[in-house]
């Protein structure tokens, strides 16, 4: 323990903010980072979507390329979090650096991103639950899908509201099983392909990993759009790592460690999975890609059967973790916005018994169920599939709000960028590259979606691509809401971005003043 902690505790003061945990060691910090990204679920949800984008055999390459802009943005997250650790949301960062209206849209877009991915989570949970119990005949049954999906969303919301939290050890066991079974899957798949034991397999090639001949700009951006989503949540590790402040080594190490684990697991599993039957098989079975490929790799009898069930179970626990790391930030962003008077006060209520933002969590859970039902019905009767649309739609949202964060970092620290090489590189250049890449991805994808051959020609709402309606529509819906709230309570919108005398340097500094003064008039 630090001497500051000892003093704070022994000094007998009522205030003891100095007490910080250094119990959050390397393992825990890494676990939170990796678990927030939920590799099992991310792979289950995107493998088929990425291969369907028309990148041929280049899906493994897409997996690591998509990581690059995300890593750049992680640097922005890290430094913005240093300036404003007491808030720690994208919403308040953008407000401080660019202005309240952009900040409001930043908060809105991150909540909408969380909402757009919920149908994908619910659909994966439903189909892998059916797969776990061997109920394959029910897999296409609309009512089973809806019932299981809604049950899953509500159960996860309840867990977030009650504040049930797995102990560090249970989390480590779950995550260990998840990673272990994914590695096992890859190793067995590659061995069997190499030994010629799988009929219809494709001999792997190192060229699957090289960033050349990616099938054109359209395929590349569509693949990227689906793939940025797999790294979404990884930034949580950066902000959480700030929590283990006492040990100067742990934060950096945990960040680097979780990064390597994630990139390695995504690339290796994609590599192995497409060797089994080629990329076409993955896109044809996108809704249950890991259990379909897994049944070929492990077989359906004996020890193989057990491994297959373990794989399915790992995807399920991973979905549960991912669902929680989707509901929690959404509810917390709502709470943040309410606390800074950017949203109705009701959303900022903390349940006195559970100590969680219960109201905003339930509201979010219910809206998720409605959206899941609507999307499931729409895709059922209009063509297309839930996973593809959710992954691409959320890719749009992530590009928007992560990109915005990259620019926010550069604007916020603009006076410090040339103070040192380190600043220039990590606070300026990387966030800027990330921001520009994601902005390009956002604009190019939108432009691409206006063409009729995008993702699914059969699906067409009002003459426009449904993913675009969903993504851009949800984003733009924020504008009238923002203007409505502005007429209701103007206090937040009077916030001036970035007053020079209050801005701490990238090395950190005193806490920033509140965005909105307590008791400010409407």
């Amino acid at each position: 323990m630090s001497s500051e902690t000892a003093q704070a505790a022994a000094g007998g003061s009522v205030e003891s903010k100095g007490l910080k945990s250094d119990a959050l060691g390397l393992a825990s910090a890494t676990v939170i980072g990796v678990a927030s990204t939920a590799p099992g679920y991310s792979l289950a949800a995107t493998l088929g979507v990425v291969t369907a984008a028309g990148v041929g055999f280049k899906a493994p390459a897409i997996m690591w390329i998509a990581f690059l802009p995300m890593a750049c943005i992680a640097s922005a997250f890290y430094y913005l979090n240093r300036a404003d650790p007491d808030c720690g949301t994208n919403f308040s960062w953008v407000t401080r650096s660019i202005g309240p209206r952009w900040g409001w849209m930043g908060g809105w877009s991150s909540m909408v991103a969380d909402l757009i991915i919920m149908p994908s989570l619910a659909a994966i949970a439903a189909s892998y639950t059916l797969s776990l119990f061997g109920l394959h005949s029910q897999a296409d049954n609309l009512w089973w899908q809806l019932a299981l999906g809604i049950l899953f969303i509500m159960a996860m919301t309840w867990i977030c509201v009650v504040g049930i939290e797995l102990s560090a050890r249970s989390q480590l066991i779950l995550l260990g099983t998840e990673l272990g079974v994914l590695v096992l899957f890859s190793v067995v798949a590659l061995y069997k392909v190499w030994a010629g034991k799988i009929h219809g397999s494709v001999q792997p090639s190192i060229s699957w990993l090289t960033p050349t001949n990616m099938g054109g700009a359209k395929a590349l951006t569509e693949g990227m759009l689906a793939a940025v989503f797999i790294y979404w949540g990884w930034d949580t590790a950066t902000s959480v790592n700030e929590e283990c402040e006492d040990s100067s080594q742990t934060p950096g190490k945990a960040g680097v460690l979780s990064t390597f684990i994630l990139v390695a697991i995504f690339v290796v599993v994609t590599f192995a999975a497409q060797a089994v039957q080629g990329p076409g098989y993955l896109s044809d079975n996108s809704s249950d890609v890991l259990s379909a490929t897994g049944s070929i790799v492990f077989g359906t009898t004996g020890i193989g059967w057990f491994c297959l069930k373990l794989l399915v179970l790992a995807v399920l626990t991973s979905s549960a973790a991912s669902c929680q790391t989707t509901i929690l930030p959404a509810a917390r962003t709502a709470l943040s916005m309410a606390m800074h008077r950017a949203a109705p006060a009701k959303l900022g209520e903390v349940d006195p018994k559970r100590l969680t933002p219960a109201f905003s969590s339930w509201l979010y859970g219910v809206i998720s169920c409605v959206w899941f039902t609507a999307l499931t019905l729409l895709t059922r009767y209009q063509g297309g599939d839930v996973l593809t649309w959710s992954a691409l739609g959320v890719g749009l949202m992530i590009s928007y709000y992560y990109g915005q964060c990259g620019f926010a970092c550069v604007i916020y620290y603009r006076r410090y960028l040339f103070k040192s090489v380190k600043n220039f590189f990590f606070v300026g250049l990387l966030p800027l590259i990330g921001g520009i890449t994601l902005a390009f991805l956002f604009v190019y994808s939108l432009k691409d979606m206006t063409k009729s051959d995008y993702t699914d020609p059969a699906a067409n709402w009002f003459g426009v691509n449904p993913v675009m309606v969903m993504g851009l529509g949800a984003l733009l819906l924020g504008l009238p809401l923002m203007f409505w709230w502005n007429t209701h309570d103007h206090a937040f919108f009077r916030v001036r971005p970035d007053p020079i005398d209050t801005r701490p340097p990238p090395e950190g500094g005193d806490p920033l003043p509140a965005l909105v003064e307590p008791g400010a008039p409407r």
Partner: protein, 143 residues
Amino acid sequence: MAGEVVLGYDGQHGSEVALRTATQIAAAFKRPLVIVFGYSPTLMGGDVGDLRRAVRELGEQFTEKAVADVKALDPSVEVEVQLVDLRPAEAVLEVARVRDALAIVIGATGEGPMKGALLGNVTYQVVHRSTRPVVVVPEPDED
């Protein structure tokens, strides 16, 4: 100073019952009572800043009432409040360790050991990880 009685407090009925016992112990041994409220939310899901602040404000209200309750029960007991930026169980353990507490007093939750172990129940964690004696106070039947 060392040898205080440390009370894990969350403002709920169980910890109000524990508060009575803690006050009695503090009075009997003539030791100060330290009321601990850990306000850090779970780090899963990120974006903890504003929630932490909101929970801390709740903690201030709760512990203010707790101090008044102790004074009403026994005005001679010296009371101190510690709002700690840790998860509830960590907060209690940390303060008890730093103060070399005489004992930790905490309310029972009535959950079984299996559930407690899996879900990281606060009482369960404190009982099993504390280096100090722990007094677990059950809620009386009539409630």
